[in-house]
């Protein structure tokens, strides 16, 4: 197992946000966490990347217990994250944002930059534009590209479809598939459940801080309970599920 979480509990003050979550991500997979608002999806990712402390339970990465390792050191181990709300540095140019992704490591970056610009030709056109002045879709590209610059073994993506038009969501999801094809494991958090389930190999359904269900993504797409709760029930086909546009 590349990433193994067992019985992880996280508190915000006295409120228990994660009530004992266990999940596993294997090398080469795309795993998605779906669930409603407040289910604990973002908290799970933030805890894996080290932005939130664990109250109990453990996180193991490549067999090593990293529960107590601070966030900035987890990057070096190979955990890259594109955070909630993108978190692009607004006063840095696109290029500087990407270079920040490589802040913690040394060596020649030109090949990695070339790869990111290859994945996102749009960013290559806008190297010198400030992050803060870009559109939502472009910022999402910067956030993913910047996470790739950390050379992650596993890439944590927090709601890459948030606030984007449907066409752009499809484009971002294609790129995620391509990133995975090139060998990076992906752990994806999404509200846009139907799209996420179509992309992922396996999925976990989270509800109020607990894992409700876990199964191959294709099975969940046809699961009546999941369909009713997250895919708009019988009202529509999963393909017609619209993304939230901002």
């Amino acid at each position: 197992m590349l990433l193994e979480i067992s019985d992880m509990r996280v508190h915000y003050g006295k409120i228990e946000a994660l009530k004992g979550i266990s999940l596993e991500v294997d090398e080469g997979e795309i795993v998605t966490l779906i669930g409603a608002n407040g289910a604990g999806k973002t908290t799970t990712l933030k805890t894996i990347s080290g932005l939130r402390p664990v109250s109990s339970g453990s996180i193991r990465f490549q067999g090593k217990n990293i529960t107590k390792v601070p966030g900035h050191k987890r990057v070096l181990l190979g955990i890259g994250q594109s955070p909630e709300g993108r978190g692009v540095f607004p006063g840095m140019t696109v290029h500087e944002n990407l270079l920040m992704g490589a802040y913690a490591r040394k060596g020649d970056l030109s090949k990695d930059l070339e790869e990111v610009y290859g994945l996102f030709p749009r960013l290559a056109e806008r190297k010198t534009q400030f992050g803060g002045t870009m559109s939502g879709g472009e910022q999402q590209m910067v956030a993913i590209g910047r996470a790739l610059m950390t050379k992650p073994r596993v890439l944590l993506l927090d709601e890459p479809s948030m606030g984007l038009a449907p066409l752009l969501v499809a484009q971002i999801f294609d790129i995620i598939r391509e990133i995975n094809r090139r060998g990076t494991t992906v752990l994806l958090v999404e509200q846009n459940a139907s799209q996420a389930l179509q992309l992922a190999h396996r999925a976990y359904v989270l509800e109020t801080g607990q894992v409700l269900k876990s199964a191959p993504a294709a099975d969940l797409l046809n699961d009546p309970e999941v369909r009713a709760a997250y895919l708009g029930g019988d009202l529509g086909q999963p393909e017609e599920e619209t993304s939230e546009t901002g």
Partner: protein, 367 residues
């Protein structure tokens, strides 16, 4: 597809027009400067230092300060405020940590100079590094437990720290309580300058210190440390997951800011002979913060201009007697209303403040 550069609609208001004109002119100067070859920059640096050296002359005094002794004014408050503002700029402008108790470091530096100077009779140059080190350590003592807080909470704790330092000084008999410390020694003479009652030698000393601190601050800003600070200021969580040890770098900002605050305190105390706790009120922290924000937080030339104006305007308005603070306040309000990002904001800072303007979904459908 719109390229998101600020191109505001034309306004009928002539004041708005003038304001935007000024903004554009400043932007052009800044961009020219960014592209200028090294010899042009150095020429300007040398000219500026030359200007600083001839600034105390009667010629400048006649129109800069008709009411007050100009060289005294140049040392304190102008020089002192500039140095404090450069220090606070590292904490507030670079690392983005709101510090409302910066005066504490100034006080600790000054008390180090006063105490060691009077009790052990040490020389100014021997006390200087000790004073700087002690304030830097106090910066760590303040920062280590409090830097886990963010934003407003951090501001409140630092405000408390500033008050604690002053109140301790007021209530500790060993350091003179509210009477403070008197008979602080002056720096020894050097280069034919006699450090006695004439403010001029102190002014030249301060110019030297300011130049050294600016070089130091500039180098930091352009280093890996500076980039880490920028990342922390813009998005702390994102910085952490890029591998920036955010806590360590925030502590470093406090450390270096405190060093510069302490340095200012040592230099200032070596001139004034006597210091009291009342010299370090909260309002001084607030004034220096106002200088940083007014000038353009994060931009070194802007911050210095801001500090200069904050220190100089009340003295320039002295002819208005009781109304001078009113005029000073009005000048601040007008400047901030016209230039909300500060008089000389950095390009980066402007982009940060305009964040969100590009996030509407409208722009991304037509591709």
């Amino acid at each position: 597809m719109k390229t998101a550069v600020e191109k505001p609609a034309k306004s009928g208001n002539p004041l708005t027009g003038a304001r935007r004109g000024f903004g554009r002119a400043m932007d052009r100067v800044r961009d020219r400067w960014a592209d200028a070859p090294w010899w042009q920059r150095w020429t300007v640096y040398v000219l500026l230092i030359g200007l600083a050296l001839i600034l105390p002359s009667d010629f400048f005094a006649s129109f800069m300060s008709p009411h007050t002794h100009w060289p005294s004014l140049l040392f304190n408050p102008i020089g002192v405020y500039i140095l404090l503002a450069v220090g606070l700029n590292i904490v507030v402008g670079h690392a983005g940590l709101l510090d409302l108790g910066f005066v504490a470091f100034y006080a600790i530096g000054a008390y180090n100079m006063a105490l060691i100077g009077t009790k052990f009779g040490w020389n100014f140059w021997a006390i200087l590094p000790i004073g700087i080190l002690m304030t830097a350590v106090s910066g760590i003592i303040l920062g280590a437990p409090t830097l886990r807080l963010r934003g407003d909470y951090l501001a409140i704790v630092t405000l408390g720290f500033g008050e604690i330092v002053r109140i301790i000084a007021e209530n500790t008999d060993a350091i003179g309580a509210s009477r403070g410390i008197t008979n602080i020694p002056h720096p020894p003479n050097m280069f034919g300058l006699e450090f006695l009652l004439d403010p001029l030698p102190y002014y030249y000393l301060l110019v030297g210190v300011v130049v050294a601190v600016i070089i130091f601050a500039r180098r930091l800003e352009r280093s890996r440390v500076g980039r880490a600070w920028t990342a922390i200021r813009e998005d702390e969580d994102a910085a952490e997951i890029m591998g920036v040890p955010t806590f360590k770098f925030k502590l470093l900002a406090f450390f270096i800011g405190a060093m510069i605050g302490g340095l200012t305190g040592v230099v200032w105390a070596s001139k004034v002979i006597a210091i009291q706790p009342a010299n370090f009120p909260f309002i001084l922290s607030a004034t220096i913060l106002a200088a940083v924000v007014l000038g353009g937080s994060g931009n070194l030339p802007g911050v210095m201009v801001g500090a200069f104006l904050i220190a100089w305007l009340p003295e320039r308005f002295r002819g208005l007697a009781d109304y001078r603070i009113l005029a000073f306040g009005a000048a601040l309000v007008i400047m901030m209303a016209l230039r909300p990002e500060g008089l000389l904001p950095s390009r980066q800072r402007k982009a940060e403040l305009s964040e969100g303007s590009g996030t509407e979904a409208s722009a991304e459908v037509g591709k």
